[in-house]
Symmetry: C2
Subunit: 401 residues, 2 copies
Amino acid sequence: MPYYIGDVIKDERSLIARTPEQFKKSGIDVLLKTRAEQVDHEARIVRLSTGATLPYDHLVVATGAQAVMPGIPGQDLPGVFTLRTLQDAVRMKSCIREKDCRKAAILGAGFIAMEMSEALSNLGMEVELIQRDTVAIKRWAPELVEVVLRTFAEKRIAFHVDTRATSIEMVDGGKLRIVTDRGNIETDLVLIAIGIRPDVNMAKELGLAIGDSGAVRVNAAQQTSVEGIYSVGDCCEVYHRVARRPLYFPLGDIANKQGRIAGRNIGGRPAVFPGIVGAQSFKFFDLELAATGLSEEEATRYGFSPAAAIAWGPPVARLMASEEDGETGLKLIADRSTGLLLGAQAVGRKDPVKKINALSVALWYGARLDEPAFMDFAYSPPFGGPWDLIHITAQLLLRTL
Amino acid sequence: MPYYIGDVIKDERSLIARTPEQFKKSGIDVLLKTRAEQVDHEARIVRLSTGATLPYDHLVVATGAQAVMPGIPGQDLPGVFTLRTLQDAVRMKSCIREKDCRKAAILGAGFIAMEMSEALSNLGMEVELIQRDTVAIKRWAPELVEVVLRTFAEKRIAFHVDTRATSIEMVDGGKLRIVTDRGNIETDLVLIAIGIRPDVNMAKELGLAIGDSGAVRVNAAQQTSVEGIYSVGDCCEVYHRVARRPLYFPLGDIANKQGRIAGRNIGGRPAVFPGIVGAQSFKFFDLELAATGLSEEEATRYGFSPAAAIAWGPPVARLMASEEDGETGLKLIADRSTGLLLGAQAVGRKDPVKKINALSVALWYGARLDEPAFMDFAYSPPFGGPWDLIHITAQLLLRTL
């Protein structure tokens, strides 16, 4: 019988869709408020926080990730949050309501930081983002990020780049002060969203091999280096088909796939996880941002010689274009030596995910750049021109290779 | 110097974006109101309707297509239109304005018929479609077409299937009467949109090989069977990568690509046209319809053993789903013998073209069905669930193969 051992904080609410009783009917025991304290893999027994022990044949380590903390004084003050668990969100919501928060400051500028800046701004709060990097929103090209920065300005969200928070202090009236190397920011609430790292504490106790990325190393069957132990989700690596190596890529859709693959292998219907191409997206007000494959920087790091081109086009045929739809910016990256497509980034109001999903499939199959330059898409004027933005950008880049 | 010889009717307006003088600056002579009366390919000379002759090295036959006529009495009456040239559209618009048309009947139910039913309905006209087939909107599965039929009903557009027009008559007050085997329909305007066929008159005079489809046979360089003569666009065939044979597939985006390939080969920068996968789409009020690859019927015709599955899902994560967004229906078709993906069809308000474009790339690379079942897409809740509708449908179909 498969077991699911939940940790204390997270599960009561995240399992709300199905109760332990409902799982039981499917032959799954769900132990809530129960922590796996220790695992004896030789004896194949888990010692639980309840004192009981649990025998197993297969063990799945799915310990997830932890929020990275900046390691500055005051990071644990009340009113300072991370956003990793449902409970984190519940606590933050209560705080906003109870303290009637008007101002929020966010450390970081990744997916979570961007999405939360929108959510908090939509609650009527004044929001400021504080980022160490000089470049706003890594991975996307500066030309594409321009569009996002315009939205920041329109929504009156301050975005401080090249700014380092050195401490957080409690000030009068329950307010918080973030001290940075470029001045102080007073706020009601601080969200720390500077990244996550794999939670490999149990993996290390079990002696599982850890990859260069710092996450648990797994093979295509989601097996770790120790026979009988699998790992899935945000605590383990995933094979990146474009980079041609395992990387740490903690995203929800990947975790779902890995879980299914591990389950099939444990259940006796062998399956391999074919890897990822690095597809990702987020919504920011009326903008879509999506990317896939490698950025130029990553491509260089992995031994390619990247060249890139950017083109812009409306999400409909030019004759039908409107101010409201705007234009989509698409950047393609290819390898000068092999002509292989390496990556793509897009920003716009309607089309980025559409373009990036198609290009993700191309990357999946190891596309050469001349292939997307003439590929067959479902053309109709309400959905684009006879030359799709993908064709146009690929042909532009082909001419410069 | 390249020449473009326009036929009498079409060009004055379709070249409106650039005048012959502007073309001249790019070294292109555009001869308007000039017909190529006869070609002597041995002497490499075209005799023009102006009496002049024109020498050439390379000849491109791009004679396009003609509207198929039903061959019934009255099909040439005033008020009966086809929609093939810009001039056709101009004439139809004049007629609607001058006769203050309130009712339109359309023979056919293809892309043009559907799109025109929307356009005429949006002008406030009462519209009826008359189709011989018992099945509404071929190629898309009946379950998906249901959604379209609901839109017909909402928009009060009558859709008569299994109905054969036998003649069109002029009746009192300038009205027209369509006589069918299921009763008469009175109307102000008739649009014949039952299909097109390649215009191969000149091709036949030149002795060019004609394919089984009835269109000009071309190789991947767009060369015909006669050295020095190329053919592109709606008069010639195109290689279908899934059917693995040349087919007649007269769509604008394909014609554009073929034109560029022919131009490159003539200009001395050899290029091959890599073929199509049959991607197509159209908008019908707030619906998108898109398809790619082969239908089950086509797959059977070309020697495959098709199996199919349909799944439905919202264009956002389920927790964010709204009545307004509706659900997208996706049908996948795969070959039982090889497990190869063969085709896909989708209908919905937001996602069909997105899904079909990604699946078109998969078909382009000869995807096996288990590949799209685990492919990497740019997941984020505003754009779908962690299991994309493509994953879900592919896994559903995999279980039945």
